[in-house]
Each structure stands twice: as structure tokens, then as C-alpha cells.
């Protein structure tokens, strides 16, 4: 076990040792700077954008606006958490947007049979689709993007079949535990925000402090090396896709509880938002390196930019997509360059 741990750490700090061994502190310092930009660049931009926004718009830094932003970020953040695990293994999950919508519809449909069914049904179905994704990727060795693209189509088809081609919208009764879970507040913040924070803490602990987490890094760093060292590559992959499916379903269920209905048109393009957030947060799309906390920052950054675009008012909401796309391109180029510098040193 210790072997894998060491590998994951060296994978995370790749290149640092040769640079340090080279002697002078110059290259080591720039190496550390590179890592710092990689890990905390998004946080710096988030702080900067938030500061500028709160000076420019009176309505930005108000309690209401921040509360709204936090709640609406929560659902995307939960999806991005699962995506972080998948991307660290070097994979990608394009099915989360559809699973989010499916989870919401299943929760609303199931809420007629009690809260337990409403929560378990989306987890069960979306988790099962995640297992299928994982099996096809890990055991049959199919390309993750095509498997999950097919799952995205299949899950949306299933969701439409459940709702009479999107014509039925199931409602969640007022006053039920589920509605309280989605709409209620604790200490001034919406319950989904607390659930999200709890999930992120758990996710960070799992990724950093457990054997499974180390396997996730090892598989993404170098799959063959991980397999040679005895890490259960296939099991790890199946687990991360299952986790991603479960979290997408949970996020959909919570979102349905928040909206009090299973809205069928949600989740379109959510996979792209989630991937953008994860990448902006410093997780490498090539796998082997990533941070759960970075993904949270990435989600917040996207939502703050969206909020600012809404506040400007004259700008259409589609600018949000343009900004996300441009941002994604810039981050990916920066990552590739930073990564290349590391390899050179």
C-alpha cells in the first residue's frame, strides 16, 4: 500500500525532485510558482472578480444575492465533485447532464411513494447507469467519451419515456421532508449548500486520505504502472463512474426538491459546465493531478461570472457560454504549457 501512496505523491509533485537536485533554488522556486498557479490560480481570479463585482454593482454583495448564488451553485458543485474523480483517473463523463435531469424526474415521480423512495430511486437508477458506464470503460476498454455520450442519449431517452415525451411534470408536495430538504434553510443558508459542503469535505477526505483515493491518482497518473503495482485499476474506474452517476442523480433529486417539481428540460449542457469547472479548478484533463477544492472554486467562479453577466442586464445569457468556452480554452492552454515546463525541468 505504501508503494502506491508514494507513487501518487510523486505523481502529484512530478518533476520537483530533479529540479531540487539540480542545486540552486531558482528552478525549484519557479517550479513551486508553477504549482501554485496551477492550484490556486482559479481562487485568485474568483476573489478578483468578486471584489470588482461588489464595487461595481450594489446588488452583488448583498446577503440575498450571495445566498441565491450559493444555492444555485450547490447542484452544479455536486455534479462537479463526481466529475473531479472521473477526470483524475484520466476519464470523462458526458452523461451527468442527462442523469441530473433523470434524477430530478425520478425523485419527483417517487415522492408520491414517500421521501425514502424519492431519494433512493434516483440514486439507484443513476448509480446503475454509472456502473454500466464504468464496466464498459474499465472491462470492455471502450473510450470513455463515447460510452458516456451514449449514456447521455440513453438517460435522456429514459427520462422522456417516463414523462410522456416531456409533457408530464411531476410535482413534489409541499411540507414533505423532501421539499424541506431542498427549500429549507439552516443558519441562513439553504440546505443544499450544507449538503454540498458536507459532500465536498467527505470527497476531499476520500481522495486524500483513503486507499481508494490514492488508487484514483495512481490510475490517472499512469495506468500501466498502477496495474503493475497491483492497484485495482478496473475496480477503481468502475467506482469513479458509479460515484459520478450517484452524485449526478443526487444533485438532480435535490434540485427537483428545491424547485418542487421534476423539470424535464434541465441539465442540457451541464456536463460541459461541470467539466469546465473542474478544469478551471486546476485538475488536469490528462489525469493524475487534481483537487476537490479547486472544483468548488471553479463552480463558484462560473456562477459569479454568470451573476455578473445577469447584473449587467444588457448582455444576453448566452454570453455566459462564450465566456465559459474562452475561459476553458485559456485554462487548458495554460495547463498544457505549465505541464510542459514541469516535464522540461
Amino acid at each position: 500500500m505504501t508503494v502506491t501512496k508514494t507513487d501518487a505523491r510523486t505523481a502529484a509533485a512530478r518533476g520537483a525532485e530533479p529540479a531540487a537536485a539540480a542545486g540552486p533554488t531558482g528552478p525549484a522556486r519557479s517550479e513551486r510558482l508553477t504549482a501554485l498557479v496551477q492550484q490556486h490560480g482559479a481562487l485568485a481570479v474568483l476573489v478578483l472578480v468578486s471584489l470588482v463585482a461588489s464595487f461595481s454593482f450594489d446588488s452583488f454583495a448583498t446577503g440575498d444575492n450571495i445566498g441565491n448564488m450559493a444555492t444555485s451553485s450547490a447542484f452544479l458543485a455536486i455534479v462537479a465533485l463526481g466529475m473531479t474523480f472521473v477526470i483524475i483517473t484520466g476519464g470523462i463523463d458526458l452523461s451527468v447532464g442527462s442523469l441530473f435531469a433523470l434524477g430530478g424526474v425520478l425523485a419527483a415521480w417517487g415522492s408520491r411513494h414517500g421521501t425514502l423512495v424519492a431519494l433512493l430511486l434516483p440514486l439507484l437508477v443513476c448509480g446503475a447507469i454509472g456502473v454500466v458506464n464504468g464496466l464498459l470503460v474499465a472491462r470492455s476498454r471502450l473510450a470513455p467519451f463515447i460510452v458516456t455520450l451514449a449514456a447521455m442519449l440513453g438517460a435522456r431517452g429514459l427520462m422522456l419515456a417516463l414523462t410522456d415525451e416531456g409533457a408530464d411534470t411531476y410535482l413534489i408536495g409541499k411540507g414533505s421532508f423532501l421539499a424541506e430538504l431542498g427549500q429549507g434553510t439552516t443558519f441562513g443558508l439553504g440546505n443544499p449548500v450544507w449538503i454540498t459542503l458536507a459532500l465536498f469535505v467527505a470527497g476531499a477526505v476520500v481522495l486524500r486520505r483513503t486507499r481508494f483515493g490514492q488508487h484514483v491518482y495512481a490510475v490517472g497518473g499512469n495506468e500501466d504502472a498502477a496495474a503493475l503495482m497491483g492497484a485495482p485499476v478496473a475496480r477503481t474506474k468502475i467506482l469513479v463512474y458509479t460515484l459520478s452517476g450517484l452524485l449526478a442523480g443526487l444533485a438532480g433529486a435535490l434540485n427537483a426538491a428545491w424547485l418542487a417539481s421534476g423539470v424535464t428540460i434541465l441539465g442540457n449542457g451541464m456536463e460541459l459546465e461541470a467539466i469546465s469547472a473542474v478544469v478551471i479548478g486546476g485538475t488536469l484533463l490528462t489525469g493524475g493531478l487534481g483537487y476537490v477544492s479547486g472544483s468548488l472554486v471553479g463552480v463558484l467562479l462560473l456562477k459569479v461570472i454568470q451573476n455578473v453577466i445577469n447584473q449587467i442586464g444588457s448582455l444576453d445569457s448566452s454570453y455566459q457560454q462564450v465566456v465559459s468556452g474562452a475561459f476553458l480554452a485559456v485554462v487548458v492552454v495554460a495547463q498544457t504549457w505549465l505541464g510542459r515546463r514541469r516535464q522540461l525541468m
Binding site: I146, L153, G154, T286, Q320, Q321
Partner: protein, 320 residues
């Protein structure tokens, strides 16, 4: 490991599998045709074939470009967004006449392809990621340029969408000519050879002195241009520019057509005839399900299953 399993599997089974991988798509098309002739009323009418062909033409055109990109061991997720971009730019510049509008569309598409190609060839980003950025941003840009559906009244554009030569619609003719052209380029030109060599092994192609970066950039530009052609033709047929939904999930349809048609995702081989047949297969499957009153939801689920089965059957072929 692969060699060991190959030896133990009886020869007949390998042969059947290989035959299925190469000719399965044609067998599938033939099977669907026969089934439809038997069970679907009015299937054998010229009108029906015309409708099916016109519907499949844009998918074929996009799939041709996708086949080239996949041949280089890449993938282009931005084709749907480029179609939407082409639709909104057409609407914006149609006032100056059809030809100037088409030129501007070509400039936009070439720019999109150049961005993808540069990210892949010069920066060295993985193709999925490079084209993902444009997939997100491209549709956003299309919506910024043209926020909602706009009806287009232009006789030249209308005739492009619904005119015909001797009963064969322009759309089908254009798709057929482009397919022949792309097949010729892949099989008979230096560029085609270089493209396949890069897909087989990029380091080897680099060491052999091939202009890897130039070829990659041209491939992504061609793919974007073909997607733009499909976008303009679809807009011409609709007689309306619809950047919100035009080209949605087109990347999936195109990749499916390419993979079902026997082009491995691992690059180094391109099967153009198979790609066209793959697009036709998906179209026939969808049409069959819809004509028998299965709701679109079930069509989507069936399509998802077909994709997974096709990719599963094609697995390992590229590695040999």
C-alpha cells in the same frame, strides 16, 4: 495478451467477426430495408426515399469531416456548435446576397477549425478537450449573434434547400459529391496518406518528416468547413435560422456514423463508404422506429444501444 486470445479463438469466429466489422454496416442497412419493405406501408415510394435521403444528407456531410479527424486519432466535438454558428452567420449576412453570406460563413468556420487545429497541433492539447472549448463557446457565440429563431426569405437560399436536378434534390447531390471528393482525397492523394500515417502513429510520422502540424490543422479546418456546409444546407431546408437547436447532438450522430461504418477511433484508417452507410443505417433505424409510432424517447435509447454495440464490435481492431 491480445495475441494469446487470438490464437485460442477458433479461426471461423475471428473471420466472422472481421467480416462483421467491415461489412456489418451494409448488412445492417440491407436488413433494415428488407424489414421495412415487409412491415412498413408505403415504404417503397420515391417520396419516402427522397425524404429519408434529404434528412440524412447533413449528417453524412458532417460525418465525412469527422471521419477525417478520427482518422488522425482525434475527435471533433464542436461540429454541432459550428453548424449553429453557420446558421446564425447566414441569417446575419443574407442581406448582402447568398454568395457573400456563404463566404462569411466559410471565414467563421475556417476560424473555428483553425482554433481547434492550433490547440491540437501546436499547443498539444488532447482533441476532446480542445474541441470541447469551442463546443461550449461556439453555440454561445451563435446565440449571441442571433438570439432566437429567425425566418429567412431568400429565393436563392430556398432553392438551395428544396430545389432539385432531374428529381434529385441539391442536398443529396452535394452530399454525394463531397463524399466522393473526400474518398478520393483519402485514397489517392499524398495528403490522405499523411493523414492516415499521423493517425497510425504521430511520433513515427513526425520522425518520417511529415508536416504533422500542417496536416492536423488542415484536417480540423476541413471538418469545420464541412460542418458549416451542413449547417447552411439544414438552414436552407428549414428556411429559418435556428441557432438554439440546430446541430444539437450532431457530434454524437456523426461519431456514431463513422464508428458504425468501420473506422476505428484509434485512427490510422478511414472508411468513407462505411461512414455514409453508417449515417444511412442510423437514419433508417430512427425512421423505422418513428414510423411504427415509437416515441422519440425510445428512439434515443435504441440509438444509444446501437452506438455502444458498434463501438464494442469495433474494439481492438485498430490495435490488431
Amino acid at each position: 495478451m491480445a495475441e494469446a486470445t487470438l490464437k485460442t479463438v477458433p479461426l471461423d469466429r475471428t473471420r466472422v467477426l472481421r467480416w462483421l466489422q467491415t461489412y456489418g454496416v451494409y448488412a445492417g442497412v440491407a436488413l433494415l430495408l428488407v424489414v421495412n419493405i415487409v412491415i412498413t406501408p408505403h415504404f417503397l415510394s420515391a417520396e419516402n426515399f427522397r425524404t429519408q435521403a434529404v434528412q440524412v444528407a447533413p449528417v453524412i456531410i458532417v460525418a465525412l469531416g469527422m471521419a477525417l479527424v478520427i482518422g488522425t486519432e482525434g475527435v471533433d466535438l464542436s461540429v454541432g456548435a459550428v453548424m449553429a454558428l453557420a446558421a446564425s452567420v447566414t441569417a446575419l449576412y443574407l442581406g448582402y446576397g447568398l454568395l457573400p453570406a456563404l463566404l462569411v460563413v466559410a471565414v467563421f468556420a475556417a476560424g473555428a477549425g483553425l482554433a481547434n487545429g492550433a490547440l491540437v497541433a501546436f499547443v498539444g492539447v488532447q482533441p476532446i478537450v480542445a474541441t470541447l472549448a469551442l463546443m461550449v463557446g461556439g453555440r454561445g457565440l451563435a446565440l449571441v449573434l442571433l438570439p432566437q429563431l429567425e425566418d429567412l426569405r431568400n429565393p436563392a437560399l430556398a432553392s438551395l434547400g428544396s430545389g432539385d436536378v432531374l428529381g434529385v434534390p441539391y442536398l443529396i447531390l452535394i452530399a454525394a459529391v463531397l463524399a466522393l471528393l473526400v474518398a478520393f482525397v483519402v485514397r489517392r492523394t499524398t495528403f490522405g496518406r499523411q493523414l492516415l500515417a499521423i493517425g497510425d502513429s504521430r511520433p513515427a510520422a513526425q520522425l518520417a518528416g511529415l508536416p504533422v502540424r500542417r496536416v492536423l490543422i488542415v484536417v480540423y479546418v476541413v471538418c469545420a468547413l464541412l460542418a458549416a456546409v451542413a449547417g447552411v444546407l439544414a438552414t436552407a431546408r428549414l428556411q429559418a435560422s435556428d441557432p438554439t437547436s440546430l446541430g444539437n447532438l450532431m457530434e454524437l450522430s456523426a461519431i456514431t456514423a463513422v464508428v458504425v461504418g468501420g473506422t476505428p477511433l484509434t485512427g490510422g484508417r478511414v472508411n468513407i463508404a462505411g461512414t455514409v452507410a453508417g449515417a444511412v443505417l442510423i437514419q433508417l433505424l430512427t425512421a423505422t422506429l418513428i414510423k411504427h409510432d415509437l416515441p422519440p424517447s425510445w428512439t434515443q435509447i435504441a440509438q444509444a444501444i446501437v452506438i455502444v454495440c458498434a463501438v464494442y464490435a469495433a474494439r481492438g481492431r485498430g490495435k490488431r
